[in-house]
Symmetry: C2
Subunit: 178 residues, 2 copies
DNA sequence: GATTTATGTCAACAGTCCTGACATATCTTC
DNA sequence: GAAGATATGTCAGGACTGTTGACATAAATC
């Protein structure tokens, strides 16, 4: 009495589905569970500071892009300025992030992580790094680059470009060697 | 004027950080962007039906576990029953999910995806499958298994077990071959 | 000086998750 | 069969995060 719906032919929406079907299904679940558990370790730390995931993301990208402008941060996060404003307000009020007037353009607010903010950020990164190091230890270097390739390919071209300075100048784009 | 904070020694929170540091940082970002873009393609479809991500997740796991009980679904999703109730109500009211009284235990509500729900679910899976197929085409089979290994290793042991029937009976646990 | 740009702010609404407290049927056990 | 445990539901209220729409200000640019 369980599972009569799961093996119906994939006829309606996917016309003649390629064989990758079950692999894709598994990957969908891998994404779900891995991402959930990955964010969970950070969420637990954030709880102690009464911060949410949005604060984490903002803090992270400010930390790795010291002096970033609000506009650029908005581009990375892809949320509205009103959403970001709420989050930034909190980070600034609690002293985790500071701001400085732009040197060349005084309209800009350059965002910086404070010493206190860096301590929290280090803690957050460390928590996730532990998971990743463990994951990388279980996988050989080839697997690691496979992971990287797949993740990059899943992304939007726009997001993929954020990583390109790190990519070897090979083609991961249209050249399918066939 | 950009980046004075990003290269400070990792002295505060991570005692003597291994060399994997920059790889870990990159992986953190890979997770963020890949997951975001991966869910985005589904979110766009869901918008047309005025449904959210929570509805997607519930629909998905009901679809791949036809006749699942509310309790089991709660275990998978790891949310409270009040949260799930709201989501299920909507799915049932809109005819995407149906329920049936448990055969052996009449307290149970067995959840099933309706034909209409299956159509939507197929559409959602197809959208993400397209991304994955493209990603898998760009990566050789070894890379694919590397992706899989890393994602599995990131997870909680508990979640990893959900995949174990599919895993070869090797040890990905404590055996580090050293 | 007029326009555009970078940023902020007020207000309202929606989705998702949480906690706490009760209620109801239905098993299970003594 | 009565008592307790279990599966599920529901009401109430609160928090975080994201959205839209409208308006405000300062600084850059033309």
């Amino acid at each position: 009495m369980d599972g009569p719906l799961s093996d119906l032919p994939t006829s309606l929406a996917s016309p003649a589905a390629p064989p990758l079907d079950s692999a894709a299904r598994e990957a969908i679940e891998l994404m779900f569970f891995a991402y959930r558990d990955f964010t969970d370790v950070a969420d637990r730390i954030l709880e102690d500071h009464d911060l949410g995931r949005a604060h984490h993301r903002a803090l992270y990208f400010i930390g790795t892009n010291g002096g970033i402008t609000v506009g650029h941060l908005l581009e990375i996060l892809n949320i509205t300025k009103q959403s970001l404003a709420r989050v930034l307000r909190r980070l600034i009020d609690s002293g985790l992030v500071t701001q400085r007037v732009g040197a060349s353009d005084r309209r800009q607010r350059l965002l910086l992580v404070s010493a206190q903010g860096q301590t929290l950020l280090d803690e957050l990164i460390e928590a996730q790094r532990v998971l990743l190091v463990r994951a990388f230890e279980h996988a050989d270097p080839a697997s690691l680059s496979g992971f990287r390739q797949v993740m990059l390919s899943i992304m939007t071209e726009e997001d993929r470009q954020r990583f390109e300075p790190l990519l070897p100048p090979e083609s991961t784009k249209t050249t399918r060697a066939a």
